[in-house]
């Protein structure tokens, strides 16, 4: 028997968002649904599940512990603000990583701008015969991370800091986080073929940075 359809009137945006089919493929999906129903503790569960991984990505992308912590906090804040609009087309993790990468890119660009201004200030100060009061930017990896690994690991950390951000992010996601090509495409916003070719170029760039370590 076909159930009788009842028109309940037009839905407002919030109701539409709440009625969006979220793919409950895992615990993340269930927590997203709980959060939409008003259970804010579900959000804390999402934070607990993903904060460590996001921090590791941010740390490798930005190179500094403070910057990584700030980026992760901002990422979860943005997730909190827009979680009601999350449709679940991609996994929550992929969505969160995409947000984090955007933030990291912005920070890298603004950091470059700051560095350029500092260098200009240095040139100007040198021209005027003044003391160089600004320290050059430190691209060394976090000492805590350095202490954890051996020689190869330290070499990899250094090499990651030397390749371009575009190559660095795909290497981090693929090699360190072990994300599949489909997830990479969703997180980076590019097609499967682009992921493949970008990863190939990133490995070649890493090989050049690891000369003597990686053939």
């Amino acid at each position: 028997m076909v159930p009788e359809a009842v028109y309940l009137g037009p839905m407002d945006r919030t109701e539409r968002a709440q009625s969006m089919p979220v793919t409950v493929r895992d615990a993340d999906g269930r927590d997203v649904l709980r959060f939409r129903e008003g259970d804010e503790s579900a959000f804390e569960a999402l934070v607990l599940r993903h904060e460590r991984q996001l921090y590791q990505i941010a740390l490798r992308m930005l190179g500094r512990r403070e910057d990584a912590m700030e980026a992760v906090q901002e990422t979860f804040l943005r997730i909190f603000r827009s979680l009601k609009d999350f449709r679940g087309d991609a996994a929550f993790r992929t969505w969160a990583v995409g947000i984090l990468l955007n933030l990291c890119r912005s920070r890298i660009v603004s950091g470059r701008e700051r560095m350029r201004r500092r260098e200009m200030a240095l040139v100007k100060a040198d021209d005027e015969g003044e003391m160089n009061a600004v320290d050059p930017p430190d691209r060394r990896p976090d000492p805590e991370a350095e202490a954890l690994g051996g020689e190869l690991r330290q070499a990899l950390e250094r090499a990651l800091g030397q390749v371009s951000p575009e190559h660095r992010e795909i290497l981090i996601l693929r090699e360190i986080q072990g994300m599949e090509y489909e997830e990479l495409g969703q997180a980076l916003g590019c097609a499967h073929g682009t992921v493949k070719s970008r990863l190939c170029r990133a490995r070649q760039a890493l090989r050049e940075a690891l000369e003597g370590v990686w053939p």
Partner: protein, 318 residues
């Protein structure tokens, strides 16, 4: 397979242990070594994911989230309540105001523009008794009846005063400059015009036909100026003819006073074409362009900025 090709397949995560790549891997020691090192680097990379997050990170994240003033499900619920409670009345008020404003502006815009025109010099009318002035007004357009002004120097616009209670008609009096209010009478176009002997005082009675209903014809009050008054009027160049400008789409007619030399003859009708660029063209019924007599029509109509279209222009008072 060559070594370069094998390394490319390896970097693309291709199948290196089967097919051609597998055969090459089994036979090439250099590529075998490269592949082993690739695996060791990958293993080291994977080990890097074991790092922990700082202990205070979780607390910082949750503190920032809780510091959000209105967000998440709470905000959604509140905004839904707000919409339900206020959206309807607010939308109704806004819609009503917008429609009402549009209607008023659309109806009165021509007259507001007219009201900004300078008042022309108007002749001092001759003394007239109230009874004398009342009789012709009975047959005049409603607007003029309400306005109670029979002076041709102060023609009113149709529709402005419709529905108002009828007022006692005051005696004829000298024309006054139009006020800024919406109900101000339509002023005459400024500028002296040569007298041709056709005076408002000698205008024939109200026009007949459909236009006579909407056009102000109360100006047909008979008046017999004295010789001295005629001379005074002629000296000030105040020979005007009331004309009605009716849009082809039957909008409210615009009543203008044209210099007698610029008005169409009483037995004909001209067409005024207002182009999109503001240009004004006078044509006859067949669309043949006519010379604007001394530029009088354009000088009167241009400041009114009538919307583009085709208008019929005819004398409102015969």
């Amino acid at each position: 397979m060559r070594c370069e090709e094998f390394l490319r397949v390896m970097d693309e995560d291709g199948p290196v242990q089967s097919g051609d790549a597998g055969a090459h891997l089994a036979s090439c020691q250099a590529c075998r070594r490269a592949f082993d090192e690739f695996l060791s680097v990958r293993g080291e990379f994977r080990a890097m994911s074991d790092g922990e997050a700082p202990a205070d990170l979780h607390g910082l994240i949750m503190a920032r989230v809780r510091a959000e003033p209105e967000s998440g499900p709470r905000r959604a619920g509140r905004s839904r309540w707000f919409r339900a409670a206020w959206a309807g009345p607010i939308a109704a008020v806004v819609l009503f105001a917008a429609l009402g404003g549009w209607a008023v502006l659309h109806e009165l815009q021509p007259f507001r523009k007219m009201a900004r025109l300078p008042a022309p010099p108007v002749a001092r009318p001759a003394p007239q008794t109230e009874a004398k002035a009342e009789a012709p007004r009975e047959a005049a357009a409603p607007m003029d009846r309400a306005a109670g002004k029979a002076d041709l120097g102060q023609p009113s616009a149709q529709g402005m005063n419709e529905g108002r209670p009828r007022e006692a008609a005051p005696p004829a009096r000298p024309a006054e400059p139009p006020g800024p209010g919406l109900a101000a009478p339509v002023p005459l176009a400024g500028g002296p015009f040569p007298a041709t002997g056709e005076s408002r005082r000698s205008a024939p009675p109200a026009a007949e036909g459909p236009l006579a209903q909407s056009a102000p014809t109360g100006s047909a009050a008979p008046h017999n100026p004295t010789q001295l008054e005629q001379e005074e009027d002629a000296a000030q160049g105040i020979f005007y003819v009331l004309c009605s400008l009716q849009s082809e789409d039957n909008g409210s007619p615009i009543v203008v006073s044209l210099p007698a030399t610029a008005a169409p003859p009483s037995d004909t009708r001209w067409w005024v074409v207002v182009h999109r660029n503001g240009g004004i063209q006078i044509t006859d019924a067949r669309g043949q362009a006519l010379a604007d007599p001394q530029g009088g029509i354009e000088s009167v109509l241009a400041p009114l900025h009538p919307p583009p279209g085709r208008y019929s222009l005819r004398r409102a008072n015969g």
